[in-house]
Symmetry: C2
Subunit: 205 residues, 2 copies
């Protein structure tokens, strides 16, 4: 297994995994050509991406499907156990807290923080909402290194700075604004509106 993977390849591994998990139970083998055709990608690219995992394809037959799934799950640490926290228990934050998909990747959102005193002390989807003042204590206690930021744009940078101070090493940012951190912290940005705008422009192009 090679962890020195380009982000662009890493991003495709969950796509392969989802595709393979959706195949009928009865299929034992899958080929890089079959995956490529189904996902509308090039076969060489698929083979290169999969070579980062421990999966070994065999000439002519391809990969044993269950082995390839296991290799991808292993690479993506799906059977691990990592804790994440969330900041901003508004409409989007509530949806993310209620979302069951994280445990497919061995990730659990263990706590949330919000500055609204009416929300602190309550629970959403079984997750306790704490005040921002409690963030440092809880993040350290829960040993969380991942955080999801669902606050309005104007608070995102301040919240990110605070999270980094508390020991967070990776931030998934839903706020429609760029977050700047030092180079040791990794940030991914999901801008829902921009994604829809991009689609719309692709349609015109």
């Amino acid at each position: 297994m090679n962890k020195d993977i380009p982000v662009i390849s890493l991003q495709r591994l969950p796509v392969y995994l989802n595709y393979l998990k959706g195949l009928p139970e009865g299929e034992t083998y899958v080929s890089s050509g079959g995956i490529a055709a189904a996902l509308g990608m090039g076969e060489v690219l698929v083979r290169k991406d999969l070579a980062y995992t421990s999966a070994a394809g065999k000439p002519r037959v391809g990969y044993v499907k269950s082995e390839l799934i296991a290799a991808l799950e292993d690479y993506l640490n799906c059977n691990g156990r990592r804790s994440a926290v969330l900041v901003g228990a508004g409409a989007l934050g509530r949806a993310v807290l209620s979302y069951g998909g994280f445990n497919n990747y061995g990730i659990e959102i263990v706590a949330a923080f919000d500055s609204d005193p009416e929300k602190t002390g309550t629970e959403i989807a079984g997750k306790r909402i704490y005040s921002m003042d409690e963030a440092e204590r809880e993040i350290k206690r829960l040993k969380a290194e991942l955080a999801v930021v669902c606050v309005p744009a104007q608070f995102a940078q301040e919240v990110a700075d605070k999270l980094v101070e508390c020991g967070i090493k990776a931030i998934l940012n839903f706020a429609p604004v760029m977050i700047r951190t030092d180079d040791k912290v990794v940030v991914r940005h999901i801008d829902v509106a921009a994604n829809l705008a991009i689609l719309s422009i692709m349609l015109e192009g």
Copy 2:
């Protein structure tokens, strides 16, 4: 203006726009070098991306900030008026319906569809929820070409097929599964859990 833009460049235009809108009012000029440094990118890349818009930078002074913002907004059709529909009024669908960010890009979610009879006929964030049987009629009436899919994974393909039948040309898919459509329909996939998993692997790498 050149609409023949690679998706990878197109994806960065909203990032520049957000950055520029966040700058202090008083700043009149911005340089590609300044943008590049602030966003941690290469200057040549920034200049190339911005060259797809109608913005014209001047040697030494750079771009007039307000002109560059207007050029990006123009390129991204932010002052246009496009209608989108949403399918799946669960926790995530509700959050997307309540999300105000779309109008920054000239997009309005005008209706939603759900198969749950308890939801149909109600409104979320002022948007009417219709049954799936009403999809074709409403999509045609509203002249919507964009759709946001927020249904569970096992229904996503079926819902996408139905939407394409009804005239939808672009789908933003939140279901954790690949949607396949014919080549004329554009699809973007936001897999929230996979994004958090990718961050986590980047942290280890």
